[in-house]
């Protein structure tokens, strides 16, 4: 499966099954998502790279409320971050399994919340993919290199 197809499937199924939201590729995206939140995770095996999820504030709120089933103002900052990190972890894991067919072991870092992607990586190294998530533009940026960063534990 090619990268774009695997990412489309992983993003679509994660949003649908975890947050009950529709996510479709947005090839003619009208612009960048307004700044909201970035969640990053690193591929360790069988790939070396990153996945970064860029969410608008509106999409972030909808994800949280759909998953928790409560008004997001009733949740703490750490509960909100944990929810977004779990969504990113699942998305990256599903992508890794789809792209790494035949591998026996997969490994990801723990996800982290960022306010600026350049804190972690030179953004020029990332390839951007745009999705419409319940009508909101959402960017998923990935860096993908064959070969693992560790032995695949």
């Amino acid at each position: 499966m090619d990268i774009s197809q695997a990412l489309t499937e992983a993003v679509g199924s994660t949003f649908a099954n975890l947050a009950f939201m529709d996510a479709e590729p947005d090839f003619a995206h009208p612009g960048e998502p307004s700044p909201g939140q970035i969640i990053a995770i690193e591929f360790l095996h069988p790939l070396d790279g990153y996945l970064m999820l860029h969410l608008t504030a509106e999409t972030k709120q909808l994800i949280i409320e759909n998953i928790h089933g409560v008004d997001w103002e009733s949740l703490s900052g750490s509960e909100v971050d944990d929810c977004l990190m779990e969504l990113t972890n699942i998305m990256a894991g599903n992508f890794l399994v789809l792209i790494g067919a035949g591998e026996h072991r997969y490994s990801l870092s723990l996800p982290q919340v960022l306010y600026d992607a350049s804190d972690l990586i030179d953004e020029d190294e990332l390839v951007d993919h745009y999705f419409s998530v319940n009508g909101q533009i959402t960017r998923v940026s990935i860096k993908y290199l064959p070969g693992s960063k560790n032995s695949g534990s």
Binding site: D82, M91, N94, H104, R105
Partner: protein, 122 residues
């Protein structure tokens, strides 16, 4: 088999909530749920709280799911407890051999009540 006391092990509180919610919707609404945020805390909890089923993530700080499974297998008091592995990278069948006989199956996240029910019926 009906599980009456279930330990959910995951570093994400969101994930623990989802596992519990899915199990409740899969027919385990009467079960008692215990939670731990890593393998080491799960082992501590098991010393005083025997359970019928353990549902664990793989990637966790301090002690991961694979180490937890191995420690459970090596202890006669816990080696018979069935373990369900849930992970964002748990989908491949080859993983099953890694874990050993006490692991019921490995289920890939995102979870659903149907996925969990099917896994527990295997």
């Amino acid at each position: 088999m009906r599980y009456k006391k279930i330990l959910v092990v995951d570093d994400s509180a969101t994930s623990r909530m989802i596992v519990r919610r899915c199990l409740e919707m899969a027919g385990y609404s009467d079960a008692m749920f215990l939670e731990a945020s890593d393998g080491a805390l799960a082992l501590d909890l098991l010393e005083t709280n025997p359970v019928d089923l353990i549902v664990t993530d793989l990637k966790m700080p301090r002690m991961d799911g694979r180490t937890l499974v191995k420690k459970l297998q090596s202890n006669p008091a816990t080696s018979d407890i069935p373990v369900l592995v849930v992970s964002s990278v748990a989908g491949c069948a080859e993983e099953h051999g890694v874990y050993g006989s006490n692991v019921v199956t490995a289920v890939q996240k995102p979870l659903s009540p149907a996925k969990l029910m099917h896994a527990l019926e295997e």
